[in-house]
Symmetry: C2
Subunit: 411 residues, 2 copies
């Protein structure tokens, strides 16, 4: 095998059929950004699009824009476009609220659809909000349901005839470890349970096949691999066959069959719009629309291959140059998302030092350094610079002088 060096990686960049997509982003000069799994980069088209929506649609056309610029249809229009990225036929995906709020809607709906069952199964160490929303539901419903959170290797056996819902994050936020969506969904269905997939770290990162896997429900954010901006609206998916029986408790006016009739009695919309609650976030939806344009030019299969290759090269180079680190992600790239996580007990200081040197990853307590390989804009040569900088940090011990500052990062 040829030695991996900078020239080799630069050559891969030259041959990369996705390399031109990087030009669709405004990236900080001289920086290696490996945190797109936390906050995606800014698409170049977004700023102009936002100016247009703010100045013309809001400023000049004002209230008329609900019709003339079709603000009212964006939740379903954008939902269908995300649907194309996750293998969902039209009419099942909706842009609304946050991932957290959408988890509550769908977990509550699952409880209502399984009135004889009491368990909500998930894994310990799942992304915190997934656990917390199930706990919120449990507190609210008294003895009606119990959250059963077990270690990852015990999840499948925890699903039983009393399980109403299984909630898992498809690509784990810390390790990137992937669940087998089809097999796990089937296993839950064999027990009569419903499945809710959290796709935050998967959507836009790899091809997904929700319809083909028979998934019941899904949620996800749009500010990571979809690049819709900090705190951008989330999405949810409800399989067609559940739309007629869905009973989500956040029954706001925009989910009504006729929102503008202002009738006193709630009557859910027959389609996916029933999962809407309040007034849609128009400006944020515009940023999402701009960021989804990028995917019109992209091919998720090819992007996923690139991300896997980036991760493999990172791991190989780390093994060669930085033996101090242990892998916290699955070694097999098919078993992990587009991130690679590594352990080091001094991880926090090392990451601070790396960030000071303009290579941006992030840290998760107590000892994990995360590196996201967003294939739309990360280059092969970025892998080289990252590993060489890590090598220098470890060899010189410069991390011991790294500034200790409070780090808040949004997964």
């Amino acid at each position: 095998m040829r030695n991996i060096d900078l020239a080799y990686l630069q050559n891969l960049d030259k041959q990369d059929s996705n390399a031109h997509l990087r030009d669709l982003f405004d990236l900080p000069a001289g920086q290696v950004y490996l945190d797109g799994n936390s906050l995606g980069a800014l698409p170049t088209a977004t700023a102009e699009k936002m100016q247009q929506v703010i100045k013309q649609q809001w400023g000049q056309d004002l209230i008329k824009s609900w019709n003339s610029h079709d603000w009212i249809s964006k939740p379903t229009q954008l939902g269908d476009r995300i649907g194309q990225l996750i293998g969902a036929d039209k009419g099942q995906t909706l842009v609304a609220d946050t991932t957290s709020v959408n988890i509550f809607k769908l977990a509550a709906a699952a409880v209502a659809m399984r009135p004889e069952r009491s368990k909500l199964v998930t894994e310990t160490g799942n992304f915190a909000t997934d656990l917390y929303l199930l706990q919120g539901l449990e507190r609210m419903l008294g003895d009606r349901v119990q959250v059963v959170a077990v270690p990852r290797d015990q999840v499948l056996e925890a699903i039983d005839d009393d399980t109403a819902l299984l909630l898992l994050t498809h690509s784990h936020y810390k390790s990137g470890a992937l669940w087998d969506m089809q097999a796990v969904t089937q296993r839950a269905h064999d027990k009569g349970a419903l499945v809710l997939w959290d796709l935050c770290h998967s959507v836009g990162a790899m091809p997904l096949e929700l319809d083909a896997c028979g998934v019941d429900f899904a949620v996800g954010c749009t500010y990571k691999y979809l690049n819709a901006g900090p705190g951008s609206p989330a999405f949810l998916y409800v399989a067609k066959q559940h739309l007629a029986d869905l009973q989500q408790p956040l029954s706001g006016w925009m989910g009504h069959a006729k929102p503008f009739a202002f009738s006193d009695q709630y009557q859910p919309h027959a389609g996916i719009s029933q999962a809407l609650c309040g007034t849609p976030a128009v400006l944020a939806n515009a940023a999402l629309e701009a960021s989804l344009e990028v995917f019109e030019q992209a091919d998720l299969v090819s992007l996923r291959c690139k991300a896997q290759r980036l991760g493999e090269l990172f791991i190989a180079l780390l093994g060669e140059h930085c033996p101090e680190f242990a892998l916290a992600s699955p070694a097999d790239s098919k078993a992990r998302g587009n991130q690679v996580s590594i352990y080091h007990e001094a991880g926090y200081a090392i990451m601070q030092n790396l960030i000071e040197r303009n290579i941006i990853g992030d840290f998760r307590a107590p000892d994990i350094l995360r590196f996201g390989f967003a294939p739309l804009y990360v280059r092969y040569e970025d892998v080289w610079h990252t590993v060489m900088t890590l090598k220098d940090i470890m060899h010189t011990g410069s991390w011991q002088q790294a500034r200790f500052q409070t780090v808040h990062k949004v997964t």
Copy 2:
């Protein structure tokens, strides 16, 4: 009394101590905009602020902005600034989610705080989402609670010893009719019930005194009189004395005492941040920040006086020139918000015709025309042009040729 004519109104504009505030907005040329009670106008500073946040904070500083631009504190910072407009001491007001979602959080919390009580009292004809969210809670909790919606004149007597919560909209979305916040809150407290005020049509429109009135909970939107843009984030208020006992079910990770510890067990933040759920809407919060700057230069007492005067002049001129219309709002300006609503059986077509002539109000089925007098940018002379145009529409019968187009408007 002097005759009200254009010269008189133009003179009022000349003397208006708030007239300069109109210059802080980008308004469409040649248009009279009387729908600020539905969607507020664009503050001039907003577009530039948004560009800065998008291009620099998101685009260049990326994930670091959670700290360096303090994205993480915006929900409480902006909440406290709204608190100044509603008579709330610091630490009780939070920017998050939508009005609808926040109603659910607080209504559910009220139910948990009154475990022996089963009634959720509100008025029929309240804004639809207020009714629908209580109904969602009712469906979800089975027999635990019942929504009791009664006509406006029966609300006070419907509050009894079994009432957990009273939910009312302070300024009615259709008529603008105001509830006496202090007296109604006191009445509910006398019966041991909690009160949740919907301030959507009041915040930024008039001085409010939540603390002084002993209010328990409140919610409101920021896209009407606060001018934060279409679908901008909402706010909620929880009185200090309830923060320790609040149990809101949308217990997302941002409401945790230590969100970045990612622990498996939810532990609410001790303060108002416990009412956060998912990741805050950073871009939308930036627009809200810009729009709140306008209020730093404004005086709500004086603005409210101007709005009342605008409404009074509108009603007087209508009476003189357009006797076809009946008043759908309280005649006494102290008893209504900053809008005036009028009845006409052909209201829909009349409003369409008015909009074609570049005077923007809105319509609420079956027969109400609404006119919002947002005092930050509506001029006295606008009242003249509106009434004279209505007069012409009625005299010539031009409304009978008005285009019938579907009108979606967000309250």
